[in-house]
Structures are given as C-alpha cells and as structure tokens.
Symmetry: C2
DNA sequence: AGGTATTTGTCAGGTAGCCTGACATAAGTC
DNA sequence: GACTTATGTCAGGCTACCTGACAAATACCT
C-alpha cells in the first residue's frame, strides 16, 4: 500500500499523523482527560513561564480567536489557568495548572517513547538526521515560478 | 520565533505547511483553476492508470464519503473524470483529464523546485536523509504505555 | 438458481476547527 | 483629555471531516 507516492509533503503528513495518533491514543488509554489535536498542539508550545493568548496564536500559526477557544477548552478541562498578567492589566497570563504539568510530563515521555520506537526501526542515526533537517527555520513559504509549460 | 519547541510532530507539521502553502500559492499565481488542500492531496495519490474512490480514500486516510466529495470538486473543475470500470460495473474509474495531466506536471515541477530551494539551505545530503527517514512504511501508530508517573 | 451478505458509490445531516467581523477594555501617544 | 493601538472575547460562516442510510452491482453459499 504505497500510500502517497514519494512526494515530500505527503510523506511529512503521514509521519506527523503517525505521531499524533499514537500520542492521542496513548493519552486516552492512560485515562487522561480527553484532548483534541489542536489543544495538544497549543499545549506543546506553552513554556514554563506562561504566555498570552496572542503569543500562543502566533506560535501555533492561527488567529487569536482560534487560539482563544482552544485555551478555553483546556481551561475547562482543568489543564490551564488564566492569571492576571503582572505587567499589564489588559493581558491574561496562560499557565499550566498542577494537573496540566502532570499531563505535560506524561505527554513528553510518550513522545520520547515513540521516537525510541522509530529509532528501533530506522536507526538512531536516521532519526537524528530527520531532526536535523526539520529544525531548519522554515520561515515563510517561498514564491516559486513554475516553468511556463 | 521558536514556533513549536523541538517536538517532532510539531516540526513535521511545520515543514509540511511550508511545502503545501508554497505549492498552493504558486499554483494560484500561475493562474490555474483554484484547488483546495484536500483536493491537492487526493490529486497527488492518483497514479497513471487511475483508481476507484474507495482506493483513493484508503490512500489518503479518509472515508469514502470524504474522498467522494473531493473527487466531485475536481471533476467539476475539469481535472478528473469518471469512466466506467473495465472489470466491474459497480466501480467507476477515476482518472485525470488531459487538463488534469497538465496541472499535475506543473505541480510536480513546483514541488521539485521547492525541494531544490530546500537543498540550497540545508544541503542536498540533508534532503536525501530526510526523504530516507520519511520513506519508512509508517503503518498503524503503535500502542505505547507511558511510565506510570 | 436463488437468497443472502458484501462491496461500491452516493446523498443527507451533523460536528469541529478555523476564519473574518465586531466590540469592549486597557495602555501607550500627542 | 482625545486618539490610536493592543488584547481578549463574542457571533456568525465556511470547509473538511465524520456517521448514518440507501440503491445498485457483485460475490458467496447452499
């Protein structure tokens, strides 16, 4: 079943789905509160010191409104909390709750485990090469001119 | 702006978006009939000899119904056609029209161009290593047990 | 042959994620 | 103090995807 056909975006998408599905499934199986894919992504880009909704929107590449609703869901789930921002009253700082910390650690360890599984199949070297290639700052997509027929 | 934070699925998604956005943008700029992301993906997994809707659904990892509507859109756009299947009357063979062939060649050349741009930045070796790592048959996501706390 | 189960394509309806538009509130700027 | 900007939030709409249902063609099984 040669799913896509050797084109890079297809392969990238397939690999991403492999990780994401396994992660969601493992979290669900370990009895955690259910989270959606966009919530996971938002959760992943939040660091220790917290961030505002606008920052999170930028990091995940969606609008503030979209980020807002993902945050809202995670707050309802008890994984995030909004506290007043120390330096400005019009911002609210989004941080993980204690429960959120726990789930975050668990998710990280699942991801590490998955990477280990991958290394068993294609070799540690290949996994490192994969990381290396992917860690280039992608930036905005370039503008290419296709050959005029 | 460290968009995600070094986790593999995030990096994979970012890379994929880079390709896809550039492709869509280039197609649009060269005046082709507008196509949506899912349509592009479906278009990409269709080979020369054609396929049925069910096959396409399997390859893209969506349901028949979803694949059906993507096909429908591409038929309306004049890029695909449905012909009676030679071996069975309950199947319909989906193939590219002549116009579809043209667009497909153009898309392929844009993708090649993008890969070239990438090679200029991270080196041909890295791009090859990326392909290599991604071409592993991913299969179904594994079931992992996170360490109990 | 004939009846039943399966496969395939299709339609209808619903849900989720993302978007744009609009607006209130809080800061900075003159 | 008036004006502009930034941030958070609500409302409405679009698109991709899903499940459920069904007709038609085929395969299977006595």
């Amino acid at each position: 079943m040669h799913t896509t056909g050797r084109n890079l975006p297809g392969l990238l998408g397939e690999a991403r789905r492999w990780f994401e599905e396994a992660l969601l499934r493992a979290l669900e199986k370990s009895g955690e509160v259910p989270v959606s894919p966009p919530q996971v992504q938002l959760f992943a880009v939040l660091d220790e010191q917290g961030a505002t909704v606008s920052e999170l929107a930028q990091r995940t590449g969606v609008t503030r409104q979209t980020a807002h609703q993902a945050v809202h869901g995670l707050v309802d789930a008890g994984l995030l909390e909004q506290c007043p921002h120390p330096s400005s009253a019009r911002q609210r700082l989004i941080r993980r709750t204690r429960e959120g910390e726990r789930v975050h650690r668990r998710a990280s360890s699942i991801l590490a485990e998955l990477e280990e599984r991958l290394a068993e199949r294609i070799g540690r070297r290949s996994v490192d090469a994969l990381r290396d290639a992917l860690e280039t700052p992608w930036g905005d997509p370039p503008s290419v001119e296709p050959p005029a027929e």
